[in-house]
Amino acid sequence: MSLLQVKNLVVEFPSRHGTLRALDDISFDIAPGEILGVVGESGAGKSLTGAAIIGLLEPPGRVAGGQILLEGQRIDHLNNDEMRHIRGRKIGAIFQDPLTSLNPLYSIGRQLTETILAHLPVTPQEARQRAIQLLKDTGISAAEERIEHYPHQFSGGMRQRVVIALALAAEPQLIVADEPTTALDVSIQAQIISLLKNVCKDRGAAVMLITHDMGVIAETCDRVAVLYAGRVAEIGPVHQVINHPAHPYTAGLMASIPDMDSDRERLNQIDGAMPRLNAIPQGCAFNPRCPKAFDRCRQDRPDLVQAGANMAACWLHDGSAA
């Protein structure tokens, strides 16, 4: 059974000029221990999907439709108090900037033990031992001393290790990692990604990895979902999506990434830009930029259909599914 199921999720932002639909009918699931990558351009709704799952949508944003189920239980309509028991205990979160996700006034030991004590039935001594072990597991040397240190005494990469330790503190089954390496240097990114992958595998935790870096997705994930203008354009096993993309948007996205292995004079580019939320075109949101668009694309909105090993929201694959 799936650990997390997102069914027809709709997130809306009421505004003076009408309601903006930021996520429109998003569905996917994550199996226990699986790493699902979520990619897309800025504004596609990647982070919003993550925020909706951990119940941290910024008001006035709200879940206007659909369901989010964790182990078969709905979590999208819980109130703040109920959600607090899930956040941390069942779903851990890692954000982009490690400096803003740590409290600068508390030592990291205090932040870790506080989280452990809040969720697990242990004594303060046990919590401290656990915190030290977590720091060791995330590759922080001299953990016994460093546990007394404050966030500013750590470098960026080390801070992100602390944040990972914090997310894992109460042994959640799901980690939502929103751009965990974007604020870090290239050389450090690889360290953090392999750490995240290994610690989650050891604990059997599933990961929803939100990033715009296809290279990171290719190396880390089992499956990947490509978002475009608040909808899932394509979802499937990571090798399939990268090497045999079914949706023209995915194909264009892959071709626009400079490649380390081939020499091209020009990169393939997708002309235009993603539409604004208040001006999503009729039919398929990608149709004005799509090289293969035909009449139906301009009129009817496609839903996800089977396209080879992937699922793609594209009329090109409508016949092949039937």
Partner: protein, 335 residues
């Protein structure tokens, strides 16, 4: 368009020799006196030399804090070098920046900045932004002519002349970066210093901007210094690549040599750190350790604490950048 020399070896357009910039990051005078703290100097760039031929692209790569952006700012004259200098087309550029001919030199060297949200004035319309360098340098005085030239510049970066009356907030990130490119091109420069021009952009938009930059280079014979931390982008745009570590060049080579057969252990480490798109599942060896504090750099070769091949000599003696099989490298282990 440019007069090529008939000599066997063309003279490089840009020659940086032993460029260095030291920042004084000492505590305030009173604190130094009361607390007895010494002066503290930060060697942001510590003796960097390179040449760029006309019409070519040199890329500088390295981690944050290695001095890439400081080199960019030294080249356009935003900083004055502590040591060394820049020869541009046979002329001492920093002397020219201070002389009466400063305007002329500035017209020939322009810069594109990283963040198109911060580098465009939000209260100005696009024609003000792009027309500013033309007016400032006294190139065009007539209002009609100015409009025509701005329209031409907008077209050259793939925007519509009708966009002239709009404000920066009406554009997407990629379009804004094209406006900054149009502004940089206004004075018809020969040399463009691009400091991370695409790192604030999405990949599909990054491709648009990189393609425009390559097209412009081909059409106008532009020379680029391209700074980026994204090695795949660097591999796409550059002819030669310099790898920087803590304010110094550690390897400088032709693109194919550097990516195909990297010599310096740091270059190898950086290349190894790039996630590969296609052979998925391959385990990489992540780079060990982090960049040391530049205020207190390690002895000898500053890379030795992270280097798998470090020996005693690396800890004691700093390697100089030397020629080796057609490339330049600063490493004791490469012989």
């Amino acid at each position: 368009m440019s007069d090529t020399m008939s000599n066997a070896k063309p003279q490089p357009l840009v020659v940086a020799h032993d460029l260095a910039k030291t920042f004084d990051v000492s505590a305030p005078w009173l604190n130094r006196v009361i607390e007895g703290k010494p002066r503290q100097l930060l060697n942001a760039v510590d003796g960097v030399s390179f040449e760029i031929e006309r019409g070519k692209t040199l890329a500088l790569v390295g981690e944050s804090g290695c001095g890439k952006s400081t080199v960019a700012r030294l080249l356009v004259g935003l900083y004055e070098p502590t040591r060394g200098g820049l020869t541009f087309d046979g002329q001492d550029a920093h002397a020219a920046f201070k002389s009466a001919d400063a305007q002329k030199m500035r017209q020939r060297i322009q810069m594109i900045f990283q963040d198109p949200y911060a580098s465009l004035n939000p209260r100005w319309t696009v024609d003000d932004i792009i027309g500013e360098p033309l007016k400032e340098h006294g190139l065009i005085r007539d209002a009609e002519e100015l409009k025509a030239r701005v329209a031409e510049l907008l077209k050259s970066v793939g925007l519509s002349p009708l966009d002239m009356v709009k404000y920066p907030h009406q554009f997407s990130g990629g379009q804004r970066q094209r406006i900054s490119i149009a502004r940089a091109l206004a004075t018809a420069p020969e040399f463009l210093v691009c400091d991370e021009p695409t790192s604030a952009l999405d990949v599909s938009v990054q491709a648009q901007v990189l393609n425009i930059m390559k097209d412009l280079q081909r059409e106008r014979g532009l020379t680029y210094l391209f700074i980026s931390h994204n090695l795949a982008v660097v591999r796409h745009v550059s002819d030669r690549v310099g790898v920087m570590y803590l304010g110094r060049l550690v390897e400088l080579a032709d693109k194919h040599t550097l990516f195909g057969n990297p010599q310096h252990p740091y270059t190898k480490m950086l290349l190894d750190a790039i996630p590969k798109m296609h052979d998925t599942g391959r385990a990489r060896t992540p780079v060990q350790g982090e960049v040391p504090n530049p205020l207190n750099p390690p002895s000898g070769c500053t890379f030795h604490p992270r280097c798998p091949q470090a020996t005693d000599i690396c800890r004691a003696e700093r390697p100089a950048l030397r020629d080796f099989k057609g490339i330049k490298i600063a490493c004791h282990a490469v012989v």
